[in-house]
């Protein structure tokens, strides 16, 4: 019988207004790690959702599992074929325990009155977590976990199934390096067991680290499939983007401009303690550390979403008191949250409405009515400058791909013309093209005098964009350095508290860094 676990042929998918996939194919061998790559909106997630039975392809599509032709009408069909999927936007149940979240789905299709076997659930979930080396109490409700932890639970679920094929749609996007390493090891283990894996990511580095073969999509079309040893990063990027992408590392000299933003001993019990730092004119301040270090909580407290126990702020030398996000925006502080879909966007509303949301008051004409014309122009401008695709201003944000959604969120804040921009995990799930654009953008904003604070778990990104780097560990600043003294080793040391073993596992030779970005 065939040595392919999965073959999908002439797959097309038309959404109202968008041809997301146009006659695409995907062939995955048994036990291989197959990378699926393409720019934002290339159609990766859509292809996966078709494989999962969530979207129905346009007529003419063919599926073969292990050579036998198959039909996938509902998610359960895929599950029964041994396909399990880790979605880009997680699919967990916040109100259920970790254990149940891991187990759920295995009984789907069984009798409604079947008694659930709690012992079994406990056993399976604990096993899965152990393999992943995650230590969370299996009785915790998932809503209690950070996004990173949730990501890991999602992965644990997929592993708990005795799946033949596991699809991972950008699983590392919100993981920190050490967790990423864990995941890599899991992937190796799985493929060693003969389980096939489709791995979607925008981080070429990790794709080369993991994959046996690549399938490249561009604008919903099939470009080709390549063995890892027949191709290199430059070529791959060329195939994805259809043009050369040039990388550059931040050649920063220490900024000596005036201090435009100062945080003084911020503390919030259970989240962070005694955080103080300054931000200078034209400077990009990178805040990194392991996931769960308290960065987001810190950012949210500065932005006024969360209460702080103590601490004070100064913008351009004068103290400001921020008690709510409204204050923050008034005072010129903007925050791009890490949870794009829930916190960043009003998904059901149009791109325009999202972009104008923070400044809607300023768009009033003399009747106190919103001046629609100005609003549209403004939106158009950012859609253009950020190259949001498809560039249909009235399209609901929900219909955009992950990366394009992020662009809209950034556009939203640029429209507010902030003094200080705090951006949390700015390039989660953003493709290499857009990524460098965003990095350039951040630098440009800094040079235009906006203070940029970038929270990121992706060290190469931190190194490429920041002038100065803060490392947080367990809610405290554990290290600070200028970028030109910074190395990944150094950062990881501060982040892990000098835990040697962990630290080796994440060493990446410096010269390659520049390329990964």
């Amino acid at each position: 019988m065939s040595d392919y676990i999965l073959q999908m042929k002439n797959i097309s998918k038309t959404f109202p207004g968008v041809k997301a996939l146009d006659n695409v194919q995907l062939e995955v061998k048994k036990g291989e790690v197959h990378a699926l790559i393409g720019e934002n909106g290339a159609g990766k997630s859509t292809l996966i959702k078709i494989l999962a039975g969530i979207h129905q392809p346009d007529p003419g599509a063919e599926f073969y599992f292990e050579g036998k032709d198959a039909e996938i009408k509902k998610p359960i069909d895929a599950t029964l074929k041994g396909v399990s999927i880790i979605y880009q936007d997680l699919s967990l149940f916040p109100n259920l325990s970790v254990a149940e979240n891991i187990y759920i789905g295995r009984d789907s299709g069984k009798k409604a009155w079947k008694k659930v076997n709690w012992k079994n659930i406990k056993r399976i979930s604990e096993k899965a977590l152990k393999e992943l080396e995650v230590d969370v109490d299996i009785n915790t409700k998932v809503e209690q976990l950070s996004i990173a932890q949730q990501q890991l639970i999602e992965i644990a679920r997929a592993m708990a199934f005795e799946s033949k094929l596991i699809v991972m749609d950008e699983p590392t996007s919100s993981l920190s390096s050490s967790e990423v390493e864990k995941l890599y090891r899991v992937v190796d283990k799985l493929s060693a067991q003969g389980i096939s894996i489709i791995f979607i990511s925008h981080k070429l580095k990790e794709l080369f680290r993991l994959s046996d073969r690549f399938t490249v999509l561009r604008d919903g079309k099939y470009v080709g499939s390549y063995d890892v040893d027949t191709i290199d990063e430059a070529k791959l990027v060329n195939l994805m983007v259809g043009r050369e992408v040039t990388y550059e590392k931040n050649q920063s000299q220490v900024k000596t401009g005036e201090v435009i933003f100062e945080v003084r001993d911020f503390s919030k019990s259970g989240n962070f303690k005694d955080i103080s730092f300054q931000l200078r004119e034209g400077e990009v301040l990178g805040i990194t550390g392991l996931v769960g270090a308290g960065r987001t909580e810190l950012a949210q407290s500065i932005f006024g979403i969360n209460k702080k126990d103590q601490g004070s702020l100064e913008i351009h030398g004068e103290p400001v008191d921020i008690r709510s996000s409204e204050d923050a925006v008034k005072k010129g502080v903007a925050y791009v949250p890490e949870a794009r879909q829930t916190q960043g966007l009003v998904l059901d509303q149009s791109i325009i409405n999202n972009i104008s949301l923070p400044v809607i008051d300023k768009l009033n004409n003399k009747f106190k009515f919103i001046d629609r014309k100005i609003e549209v122009e403004m939106a158009q401008q950012y859609i253009k400058s950020l190259d949001v695709r498809p560039s249909l201003p009235e399209l609901p944000a929900s219909k955009l791909s992950g990366g394009n959604q992020q662009k809209v969120v950034i556009g939203k804040w640029l429209s507010a013309q902030p003094k200080i921009l705090i951006i949390d995990e700015p390039t989660n799930g953003i493709d290499i093209g857009a990524k460098t654009e965003i990095h350039k953008l951040l630098r440009r904003l800094a040079n235009e005098g906006i203070g940029v604070i970038m929270i990121s778990s992706e060290l190469p990104e931190v190194l490429a964009v920041s002038d100065r780097i803060l490392v947080m560990r367990n809610g405290k600043i554990s290290g600070e350095m200028d970028v030109n003294q910074a190395t990944q080793e150094k950062i990881m040391n501060y982040a892990l508290g000098g835990n040697g073993k962990q630290h080796e596992s994440v060493v990446i030779e410096k010269e390659k860094v520049s390329q990964e970005v």
């Binding site: 207004g17 041809k19 925050y335 960043g344 998904l347 949301l357």
Partner: protein, 320 residues
């Protein structure tokens, strides 16, 4: 052909009108048309009030008792020799007080609206009982009864004019002002609005105040029409107004809803009730018909949506 939910409902309203005009004797008679115009405003205002709240993803079960309490406010003034304007002001103040109370608990404490208003519904009713001892307050000056019974330029009922004005105002507020925009945005995703520097509590507070204001206007019309107020003033409108709002296309989970849709829905209900009464239907059968319409229309929407999607798919795939 691309028709919005609202315009379809508009056609349905027109349809029921013609249908009744054909079947129901005297439906078109001038004084029937008249009495319909007198009947629409009080309910219409409450329905719009409910719609605004529903757009935020909430619901206001206390709305009719807010109206009743506002009515009591006016009645107390009138029966104590105050003029019409003080009375109207008092009605509005009473209502706003209730609205502020709801708004505070919903927006500041963050209790879900259905809970809050379940409580305040009983609370406000209680306040009215405590004030009126359950009996009705009546006997208002004729000038006051003109509001609900009088004509503008001798042909259009005053009340319908008032209704039209507030309908338009509401429409403008929702679709053209930044408050209205925020109401919709909040309705679709309140977390995102918070993260965008929107002061959710302010937006919400205004919503409940505005709903209360509309309730007060409705109350003024009712009290002047019925020349009295009692604890149950307009209580039969509660679930009806929810029904009208959703029949009008308002998304019960928030984020979408249009004044015009709600108005069409109110018309549909009005034509059906009035028509069937003229046809001498048993009143309880009228409810049956209303209920059926509600379900039928939404079922229709569902299938027409499905159909549209299919069409679009086809066009798109042919285009490609």
């Amino acid at each position: 052909m691309k028709l919005s939910k609202e315009s379809i409902l508009g056609l349905i309203a027109l349809g029921t009108f013609l249908f009744m005009a054909l079947l129901a004797p005297g439906f078109l008679s001038s004084n029937n048309i008249n009495s319909m115009m007198f009947q629409i405003p009080e309910f219409g205002l409450l329905a719009i009030a409910m719609m605004v709240v529903i757009v935020t993803g909430g619901i206001d079960l206390s709305i009719t008792y807010i109206a009743a309490l506002a009515g009591v406010g006016a009645a107390l003034m009138l029966t104590n020799g105050f003029g019409i304007f003080p009375a109207i002001i008092m009605a509005i103040l009473f209502a706003l007080a209730c609205g502020a109370f709801n708004g505070f608990i919903v927006s500041k404490i963050g209790v879900s609206p259905i809970l809050v208003t379940l409580g305040t519904m009983v609370l406000f009713e209680g306040v009215i009982l405590a004030i009126t001892k359950g009996s009705s307050i009546s006997g208002f000056p004729d000038a006051y009864s003109l509001i609900g019974n009088g004509y503008y330029l001798g042909l259009v009922p005053f009340s319908i004019v008032i209704f039209a004005i507030f309908a338009i105002i509401t429409g403008l507020l929702l679709s053209k002002t930044s408050w209205g925009r925020r109401v919709y945005m909040y309705g679709s995703n309140e977390v995102a609005t918070l993260y965008s520097g929107v002061k959710n509590s302010k937006v919400l507070m205004k919503v409940y105040l505005y709903a209360a204001l509309l309730a007060a206007i409705s109350a003024i019309i009712m009290t002047s029409r019925y020349n009295s107020v009692k604890v149950d003033l307009g209580s039969s409108y509660l679930l009806q107004s929810v029904a009208a709002a959703v029949l009008g296309g308002t998304n019960i989970h928030g984020g979408y809803g249009k004044v015009i849709g709600t108005i069409y829905a109110v018309f549909v209900f009005q034509f059906i009730r009035n028509g069937l009464n003229l046809l001498g239907f048993h009143s309880s059968l009228v409810d049956v018909v209303i209920g059926s319409i509600l379900i039928l229309v939404l079922t229709m929407n569902f299938f027409s949506d499905k159909f549209k999607k299919k069409q679009e798919q086809k066009n798109a795939s042919q285009a490609a």
